[in-house]
């Protein structure tokens, strides 16, 4: 739904009336976001730059897009008033002076409103979406730097300036924790948590004990946020819940997404099952997503017979398994049309499941939309761009007043 009505309807009321001249210079505006809207990252292989495209999942309408530089990151204000895109560009395309910056967009016209300069050459260029996050206090935006020494940049969105850069040796990526904190994953399986005060000054940092064993079974960095908790999925198929409501993370008991006792299928059973007999594992890029209202965790899963067990953690999913994170049990299985590399779930009471899918016969990538409850395939989007690298929904908080 767009704010501006199409003028075409107005220019000629009678069928045979001559069309009146139209106004030149108009640009559309965008209505207040709805829960079924989502951004996706369209990544251009030729230059590793991206675009964020905003669509309405109910009718796959293309609403707007934002240009972005190399490996961009996107964050959305909880009230959905603004969108922040961190970008990296070069003055002369592939060479010349490097620029790292955050572009601020208003969500009514999606034109660049502000430009916040970041320390040049630090911003991490990688695929993970955990490289930027708003803090619990959305005045502050945290950005992960990798060069390859690691650090965290803090941006004050009120004054539109970069405030500080804090070194975090050996720790990586960002998970919002508590009122003004971020936790990071360290190489030994522990978390480092930085806390900032109400002015954005570093107030403290602490590093806990390892909560998983990265040698035995690493966790994927793409965590699902459900309420105040993060849910990390491990390579082998366990879930590590982390309560991030307070000033420091509280690590829950891991539980299993899969039956670890399933044995590899013999060839007759493998053949008869279409390769689906035997153990399954989680895999994909944006492989896990959460729904706070329903306390549901969605995970892309595939049979290890398909992958031969190799590279499973990135292998695309044939099904989406849906778990109740309170009862720690599988609720249902959504079979995909092909396989999926990334997924996301809308935050409302009648959620849509967005999947970056690959059709097995044609190997065409596509943007598929399913009913997250029934698992029914609803529709797909054509001509989405080059390659979908993941989804970025509006925060559930933006619709809090509208929800039942």
């Amino acid at each position: 739904m767009r704010v501006a009505a199409t003028l075409l309807c107005l220019v000629a009321s009678a069928a045979q009336a001559e069309l009146a001249p139209e106004t030149l210079g108009r640009s559309e505006r965008v209505a207040r976001p709805e829960p079924h809207w989502t951004f996706y990252l369209d990544f251009q292989l030729a230059n590793f730059q991206g675009r964020y495209v905003l669509i309405d999942g109910d009718d796959v309408e293309y609403l707007a897009h934002l240009s972005a530089g190399q490996f961009p990151s996107l964050a959305i204000a909880p009230d959905a008033s603004e969108v922040y895109v961190a970008e990296t560009t070069y003055a002369y395309g592939s060479r010349g002076e490097r620029h790292d910056f955050v572009t601020v967009y208003d969500t009514t016209d999606y034109a660049a409103q502000d430009h916040i300069t970041l320390p040049t050459g630090r911003r991490a260029l990688m695929a993970s979406r955990q490289r930027m996050t708003l803090l619990g206090d959305p005045r502050f935006l945290a950005i992960y730097n990798y060069r390859p020494a690691t650090s965290v940049s803090l941006v004050d969105l009120k004054s539109r300036v970069h405030l500080s850069e804090t070194p975090v040796p050996g720790c990586h990526l960002l998970y919002a924790t508590g009122p003004r904190g971020v936790s990071m994953l360290c190489g030994d399986g522990s978390m480092l948590t930085l806390r900032f005060d109400e002015h954005g000054v570093l107030a403290g940092q602490e590093r806990g004990e390892p909560f998983f064993d990265p040698d035995a079974d690493p966790i994927k960095t793409n965590a699902a946020r459900i309420g105040q908790s993060w849910y990390f999925v491990s390579y082998a198929g366990d879930v590590y819940p982390v309560d991030a409501a307070g000033e420091r993370p509280v690590f829950g008991e891991p539980w299993a997404l899969v039956d670890h006792d399933v044995e590899e299928a013999g060839w007759i059973r493998a053949l008869l099952s279409g390769g689906k007999a035997g153990p399954w594992k989680p895999g994909g890029m944006q492989l896990a997503a959460g729904h706070t209202g329903r306390k549901e965790l969605y995970v892309l899963m595939h049979p290890t017979f398909w992958s031969g067990g190799l590279g499973d953690h990135d292998f695309p999913g044939a099904e989406v398994w849906v778990f109740d994170v309170a009862r720690r049990e599988r609720l249902r299985v959504i079979e995909l049309r092909g396989v999926g590399t990334s997924l996301n779930v809308s935050p409302d009471a009648e959620p849509l499941l967005f999947v970056a899918g690959v059709e097995l016969d044609t190997e065409e990538q596509g943007l598929e939309i399913y009913d997250a409850q029934s698992g029914e395939f609803l529709r797909e989007m054509h001509e989405y761009g080059d390659a979908i690298l993941g989804f970025r929904p509006f925060p559930a908080a933006a619709f809090a007043g509208e929800q039942r």
Partner: protein
């Protein structure tokens, strides 16, 4: 298949995919009836590398006096266009997508509206300042003239007078009716 079969198959498949009205039968029918040129869409007006908009959900203007699907390359106003259709990109046939800026400098074409058979002057404006929308690529060149006649040329990047020349998509705005049969006031040219 013989080469003729193959050709007929190709052509009818292509035409069927693109439009129902302008098919092979229409073209042959035209020849039978001796009617004036019914435009047959250019074969392979765009390669597969170019997103054709074929599967993009259609829309309408809601005005019977302005018939057709503004997300289709066949839409009457697009007779001289070359670019992504803004109507597939968050804009419309006459407005830019959010955040893109319409170039004030442009080129002009003349298209016939099938509803009233009148010729309208169409201003083809580029919307600028964001990356390309990369949907519904449409390259029709009817009555287009070379770059040394820039006001009639669509190969110029018309993001001029905008803060950025980044090209987003193109619109086709009705700015008036043409005098006589042809907007240029001259003979009918099927360039």
């Amino acid at each position: 298949m013989t080469s003729i079969d193959r050709w007929v198959d190709r052509l009818s498949r292509r035409v069927a995919e693109r439009t129902s009205r302008r098919g092979l039968l229409g073209r042959l029918g035209k020849l039978l009836l001796g009617a004036a040129a019914l435009p047959l869409l250019p074969v392979a007006r765009a390669g597969a590398a170019f997103p054709s908009g074929r599967d993009v959900p259609p829309t309408t203007t809601g005005n019977p006096g302005d018939p057709g699907n503004p997300r289709s390359c066949d839409y009457w106003r697009y007779c001289g266009i070359d670019g992504f259709l803004c109507s597939c990109c968050g804009g419309s046939a006459s407005s830019c997508p959010p955040g893109a800026v319409m170039s004030p400098i442009t080129w002009i074409g003349t298209c016939e509206n099938p509803a009233d058979r009148k010729h309208y002057i169409i201003s083809y404006n580029d919307c600028c300042g964001k990356q390309g929308c990369n949907r519904c690529f449409c390259n029709r060149n009817e009555r287009e003239e070379p770059e040394y006649r820039p006001q009639k040329n669509n190969e110029i990047h018309w993001c001029l007078g905008t803060p950025s020349t980044a090209y987003t998509c193109s619109v086709a705005v009705v700015v008036g009716t043409a005098l006589g049969e042809d907007g240029a006031g001259g003979a009918q040219r099927n360039w």
